[in-house]
Symmetry: C2
Subunit: 242 residues, 2 copies
DNA sequence: CTGGATTTGTGCGTATGTATG
DNA sequence: ACATACATACGCACAAATCCA
């Protein structure tokens, strides 16, 4: 089946399509899936009748949104449509505004807490024993690391990923993971972590609540988990009054 | 005050910074705010010692994330850090996967409903009379348009923006607005709208519930609002079995 | 309103680095 | 080790848009 190439003028609406839009159209019309190879820059340049510079700039836009993925010296492929762009954008917003606008981090934490609590009833009902065991192991590792004064980003991130994996809503899982990344990045700029043992222990408390089978208990445990994080944030912003 | 320019080698970690990162650094170090002018491409090219093509490609990445905003023939400015990139990315994901993967739209609707319901207690408590009046006017307009068989995207979008404006959480407001845009774009590909009168009337029901002062009533009204939307989606996906 | 200056947008040629086989 | 295909990078010239005197 020959590839179909979108034209510059889009039928009815007479506004000429941008190069970015025409490349998106190409992917849609030819029903490509994530991972499928894209034409080379040279071929795109020929088929769309624009210079390679424009193709490259369009590709930069598309790869920033993970619509395409460029592999140096190899080729270009349809991207996985992940939310890396959102993570970058939010992280930068946090860095830029955390001086004067403390709302951002607070809003971010509120949203994380809110979304996890939303799934509490489903979690106590459907989280399977295997997942719980894996989370328990992560929590134990976190406590150990905290006792040594070390942080535990990988374990924490995976713990929360597993927690909402029950929801069955892929979008909320990806969103929460992005929020975790942003929170992690931005809070690094607020000085060293604090209250590590409390934070680590809170994960055990979450698992305990799940095993009681009470959604209300889980909700309370999740709220308590975010408490030391909030305190640290408030103290940091109080200290860096510019 | 002279501008500070970031160097390629970032102090400790000896991995050379990318052009994108160095431009981000420039914004951060010089404490620029959204709307502030950026150096010209030529000046960036000189100061960062890379060609203008590279600067332009980096700018494309940054403008895709709304970190900078480029105005043809005028200049480049620090962007508003909006979530337009997320909207584009999600919209494309929806277009690409809505054929074989019906989860996406369903997850999106679930998330919208969930987040609006989260704020129901706060809404019934704090939404002021002026805002309610404005929303009532929008709902009336929607019903009128629906009676004529016309759609009402602008009114619907603004209605939901006002609904969550009470939350005080700017992030959730922006996220919900993005979800609205994505939902609107993707559902266009599922054929013409249906159940317009029911959908329009549901907005009046939401306001009625708010005026009763009961969070539970509001929650129920919000759920009912999303019901015809879900039905339409299910019927569309059933009809387009590829 | 008309230039003219500034700035971004576009096109092209060429050389270099990088991955695959 | 070599050849090929591809992405990366640079520099220049000109077009188009915007602003301001």
């Amino acid at each position: 089946m020959p590839a179909q190439w979108p034209t510059a003028d889009d039928g009815a609406g007479r506004a000429p399509l941008t190069v970015v839009d025409r490349i998106k159209q190409y992917i849609l019309v030819n029903r490509l899936s994530p991972g499928d190879p894209m034409p080379t820059e040279h071929e795109l340049s020929d088929q769309l009748a624009v210079s390679r510079s424009r193709i490259r700039e369009a590709m930069k836009t598309l790869s920033a949104l993970d619509i395409v993925e460029v592999r140096h010296g190899y080729g270009t492929f349809v991207g996985t449509l992940s939310l890396t762009g959102l993570a970058e954008s939010l992280a930068f917003r946090g860095m830029l505004t955390s001086h004067r606008d403390k709302h951002f981090l607070a809003d971010l934490i509120d949203l994380r807490e809110l979304l996890e609590i939303d799934w509490a009833p489903l979690i106590v009902e459907r989280l399977d024993a295997g997942t719980i065991a894996a989370m328990r192991a992560l929590a134990t590792t976190m406590v150990d690391l905290a006792a040594q004064g070390r942080e535990f980003p990988v374990e924490d991130r995976q713990f929360h990923q597993l927690l909402v994996s029950t929801s069955g809503n892929a979008l909320v899982g990806q969103l929460l993971d992005v929020f975790w990344q942003v929170h992690s990045l931005v809070s690094e700029t607020l000085g060293p972590a604090s209250l590590l043992p409390e934070t680590a222990q809170a994960h055990h408390a979450i698992l305990d609540a799940i095993e009681t089978g009470s959604a209300a208990a889980l909700e309370a445990a999740i709220r308590e988990h975010y408490q030391p994080i909030r305190e640290r944030m408030l103290r940091s912003t109080a200290g860096t009054a510019d």
